[in-house]
């Protein structure tokens, strides 16, 4: 039997190296990212393009997502934040679709990979820094020194604030990857338990009912986690953007 981590292995489907060094191979991770985007495009063609005044189910779902993200951006950043709305909506749909796709057996979840989530969070963090710097120039770094704090502890505060600020980039990506990985590992462990009970035969096979029913419950939980984690990722991105627009 293979390892529980086999499901996370990257397989190069179309190997490609640029300048001999840069590995830009098309992998199973890239394929499932394309699947996620393709699935949404399919939804658009079949449900949204017709623009029904009385929406069908899928159009309703997309419109609820649209309105929720729009109000979250507006509440946290204000009207200045609406220019980032398209990006946040893209981010939510992209992450949520990839997370949900990963729940289908024998598929692959790109968001379980730290390279994807950290790459995303690092890019967002650099973007936020650039926006903050463009808005406030050197004053932007005043956030490392909270207003009203005693001067005596200023050096320590600056160090702590500096570390906590840069830890955001790490935690944003780590949170998503860790949650998705944990869910997938739980699925594997419960499936292996169920299979072992079933293959034991006789009365012991009835014991498979317990891990199987827990697995069913975990499936419902993981569907919720897939959407919640996508929302948390977007919400934190919005908050970081808000901080770079409205410096405290």
């Amino acid at each position: 039997m293979g390892s529980h981590f086999d499901q996370f292995e990257i397989v190069r489907l179309i190997p490609f190296h640029l300048f001999g060094n840069f590995d830009l191979s098309f992998t199973n991770s890239s394929l499932f990212m394309l699947f996620a985007v393709g699935f949404f495009y399919f939804l658009y063609i079949t449900n949204i393009k017709s623009s029904l005044l009385i929406p069908n189910r899928w159009q309703s779902v997309i419109e609820i997502v649209y309105e929720t993200i729009h109000s979250t951006v507006k509440d946290n950043v204000g009207t200045e934040g609406t220019k980032f709305f398209a990006f946040i909506l893209t981010l939510f749909i992209f992450i949520a679709t990839m997370n949900l796709f990963g729940l289908i057996p024998y598929t692959f979840s790109p968001t379980s990979h730290f390279a994807v989530t950290f790459g995303l969070s690092l890019s967002i963090f650099i973007g936020v820094l650039i926006i903050g710097f463009l808005n406030y120039q050197l004053n932007y770094f005043s956030m490392f020194m909270p207003a009203g704090a005693p001067l005596g502890i200023a050096p320590f505060l600056v160090i702590i604030e500096f570390i906590s600020h840069f830890a955001k980039a790490l935690s944003l990506g780590l949170r998503l990857a860790a949650n998705i990985t944990a869910g997938h590992l739980l699925f594997t462990i419960l499936s292996v338990f169920t299979w072992n009970f079933l293959t034991a035969g006789g009365i012991v096979a009835l014991g498979a009912l317990l891990p199987f029913s827990i697995g069913l419950f975990i499936t419902i939980l993981e569907i919720a986690v897939a959407v919640i984690q996508a929302y948390v990722f977007c919400l934190l991105t919005i908050i970081y953007l808000g901080e770079s627009i409205h410096l405290h």
Partner: protein
């Protein structure tokens, strides 16, 4: 843990950016304008519903009765028209199909336009006269 492999970082990051930016362009230029128009149109119709509700609240009972009477007569006229129309269409099924296709409404609408037996009888009497 394959999730922490550093040798696949470049390829995963490259494809992530390529796919995400393409998706962003699609969402920003095509999906958002479409959804925004839909939601705006629906909000306008919700607002007009509220306006009607407000009007009803401010009207007196006599005014409401008059309005209701008017609405009933409009509906009766519509039903009369529907019966005449459907009788005419029944004579030629091809024309009937063409009518429903050109009207861009489903045949379910027929149920909505249906009238009671009494109304149908009164209309027949009217035609005979």
């Amino acid at each position: 843990m394959p999730q922490l492999w550093t040798e696949t970082f470049v390829t995963q990051y490259f494809w992530l950016l390529a796919i995400l930016f393409t998706f962003y362009a699609f969402i920003a230029t095509t999906v958002i304008p479409k959804l925004a128009n839909n939601i705006k149109a629906r909000n306008i119709s919700e607002e007009s519903k509220e306006e009607v509700a407000q009007e009803v609240n401010t009207q007196s009972t006599t005014e409401l009765y008059t309005q209701l009477k008017q609405n009933i007569s409009i509906k009766e006229e519509a039903n009369t028209w529907a019966i005449v129309q459907s009788e005419w269409l029944d004579t030629n099924p091809e024309e009937k199909e063409e009518f429903w296709a050109s009207a861009k409404i489903t045949e379910e609408t027929e149920d909505y336009l249906a009238v009671s037996e009494e109304q149908e009888q009164s209309l027949e009497d009217f035609i005979k006269e």
